[in-house]
Symmetry: C3
Subunit: 346 residues, 3 copies
């Protein structure tokens, strides 16, 4: 099903090599030589494909496909037909995610070199093997690491420092920023703009000084058209391995911990701190100057207006513990819905 | 009132020709030769203008203007002064919308040709009469149809296929996409980025493979800075004639039906399906993996967390039938508002 | 702490000159010759720095720092150690905001001139001292004032008129617009796109004519990736001194008064009017065709669905007076939360 105009498929790969790559175990060691052509989700997999079964609910889908092998857990294997070659893994979905990178290379800097239409400041430094696409602009004193890809018409500001293996999408812009290794920045993302703080002077508004930076640690992903403001003084920080989806707004001096997940259209107001492993659902938001503990989970559309202890799970505006929110929303439906009223009267 | 630096006004047009163009009927056939210079909304129309009356509420505005003709329905015509020439139409607002395109051409590819500063891959194909503006980048193997306009500094990725009569705004970027005819893509829109899906590997997050595409059918409009992710496997689809406003977020593998209207800042999470003719108000959202029936209407700011039957009209977070939501919000105001309490006590 | 790769620090400045610049008074006139090297927030200030104390809550922070001088009010000065040189001001925070511009110049058009890779239409006019960065595109008949900075790969459309001292961020795009003096437009902002209005024609949707403009008055700030649509007919107006944060959506024919503050991800639907000094919290929204009085304050995440009188303070969806909203949200927690229930029972 994959459109090979857009992706380079590698392979085929022997089933035994797949098992080794994902750290799994073959149900039938004698099938190690089977050639697997591609990977596919369970609803699409056909002959030559390897697929994944991570939940009993999807068992039925497997009946109707001809996948040549299935990654699954020992616990689920009992439900599977005897004749299907299996690869046992503790975390089948994770194994499948990793396997994607064996079958498809998503190459950073596939065509190294600097396009002649890119405009590179004379004192900028570009690491070996990096690819600078057409129309990209790299400012004075900027340093781009090795094996990076700077997309077409992207703009890297003066003195920005970027590590190795980074990718910057088309027309993204970055300024006042230090960026680690293997960072991916989506198309149209805006890193390093001035924070939003003003002080009234009679009828007028005077902008507070914005002389900080943005620090993006290793392995961070930033989505398309997301905006991250620099610190007023000091830094805005995105911790290692955190993932930000599209159209996210990060205010000045926000500090995000490691391995956080911020879904689309999330907003975090100035000077708020997130611990590690925080998950924020789509279009949720956190007010300014708050402290959100590690492992907190914030439901989609919620609005957090107070500090949250580590591990809290909240929903609603203002956000409250999610169990209370479920009771509240269910209670309100009982109180006010016509259908609920009628069934009570009956 | 129109600033002719920005728009090409055509005309004048004879009233009889206007009636024919919109499929309407003249109240006074002897006025068919009157020359109409321009179109204008009812609050601005003056001599030489044609305007529209689609609702009795706006009758008063007509007293104070000197519009030379009015598009209206037979039903409303009784309220209008005898001497004003009318064009009867079943749908006056629609007639007026169409008429705009007779008085103002919004030309696609007004100045065909490729600007010398555009960077076109050697094997890209550009259809006849297309206009490629300064700094635009068109990747290897891309195919642009006839009569398209690719805005300044826009970036069309490798192997993107685009039909005829499309327009891409300045600095928009498109990749991994097949695009139909007469599609309009706003400035800064991001089509084809990787979807947002990760699997935890201890403390780290591994991105799921994102090897799908974006399919945009004919006559779709996409607003400024809107982001549409490609499928993980398989496609993200925007159905024919659907209209997306600015700053909308569409997750991977979302499938939107035909003639849907998604207002500004709407968000739709991954793998959700919308039927035809769905209307979503501003900043409303739908969670992932849901099925939203045809003709559903979702109020502004709502958050849909369950499947919806065709024709459902909902509001709130979580979204409930809008009549229930009205009762709930009114009920809460009665219960908790100071003013309401006081008047009850009195 | 400031990273001098990104900012030009001026100074040192004599304390007496600082007092004069902010219109304040020295507590110890004999200290007027002390040299101040930098400004810093109270939690970071060290020797050679001047800082600000605007609230008793921050007094403790002052104990642990070695700031060489403090801007504060007469009222707060009694709490401060005798030996610290003070600058008395009525509005210490405002004085500090102003002082930032004495210590750091944030120069518009630091390197005047037109980069050779910029594409300027032959009949465009560029004022003296303006800086046009690499890859910027300026359309036919556009007029850019004096001392402006047009960022890399930004796109200024045909016949756009811009005053003096403006700054346009990288890859921003502007069309159909008249722009005043000292306007700052963030990276990736989209000014002048077509409004979002359609009329159904059977199954199809016909776009209403969009032949208006955007008017941006003096001293307006517009954030990164914010979108402002032009009027359908007539104008969309952003009043003098108003400040819009990132990812804000402004519909066609919206009229915003003077000195308004719109935080990140705010949305305002078509034809709504805001008075002067309106403050909208993050991710709040106003529906279409409403009138919002001067001085209204709308809480973060609120959704306004009715006209609001001047000075109203609202929250919630639908937005209600904020005192009622506090009572409602607290009341619901009492009614439905497990912890609240338990403590009542106890």
């Amino acid at each position: 099903m994959t459109d090979l105009r857009y992706f380079n498929r590698l392979g085929p790969v022997k089933l035994g090599d797949i098992a080794r790559f994902v750290g799994g175990e073959l149900s039938k060691p004698d099938k190690a030589e089977i050639l697997i052509q591609d990977i596919a989700p369970i609803e699409e997999a056909g002959e030559g494909d390897i697929t994944v079964l991570s939940d009993r609910r999807y068992l039925k889908l497997l009946d109707h496909n001809a996948a040549s092998a299935v990654i699954t857990s020992q616990a689920l294997s009992g439900f599977l037909p005897e004749d299907r070659p299996l690869v046992y893994c503790d975390q089948p979905r994770l194994a499948f995610a990793k396997l994607g990178h064996l079958f498809y290379n998503d190459p950073v800097a596939e065509h190294p070199g600097i396009d002649p239409s890119a405009r590179i400041a004379p004192d900028a430094v570009i690491g070996t093997g990096s690819q600078i696409e057409p129309g990209a602009v790299i400012g004075a004193g900027a340093r781009i690491g090795a094996g990076c890809q700077i997309g077409a018409n992207a703009v890297i500001g003066n003195a920005v420092v970027m590590g190795n293996g980074c990718r910057v999408g088309a027309t993204a812009s970055i300024s006042h920023a230090l960026i680690g290794d293997r960072v991916e920045i989506g198309c149209g993302a805006r890193i390093g703009g001035p924070g939003f703080g003003f002080e009234p002077d009679g009828q007028k508004l005077v902008r507070m000084l914005q002389i900080g930076r943005v620090i993006i640690e290793d392995d961070v992903d930033i989505g398309a058209n997301t905006a991250i403001d620099r610190g007023a003084t000091g830094d805005t920080v995105i911790g290692a391995g955190s993932k930000l989806d599209n159209l996210v707004q990060i205010g000045h001096n926000v500090r995000i911990g490691k391995s956080c997940i911020l879904c689309g259209q999330v907003g975090i107001a100035g000077s708020t701190t997130l611990g590690d492993g925080v998950i924020m659902g789509g279009a949720s938001a956190v007010a300014d100057h708050l402290t959100i503990g590690s492992g907190v989970r914030i439901a989609a559309k919620a609005g957090v207006m107070r500090d949250l202890e580590p591990g809290a799970v909240v929903s609603g505006v203002p956000a409250i513990p999610i169990q209370d929110w479920y009771r509240q929303t269910a209670g309100l439906i009982r109180m006010f819905s016509r259908r609920a009223k009628k069934s009570e009267e009956a």
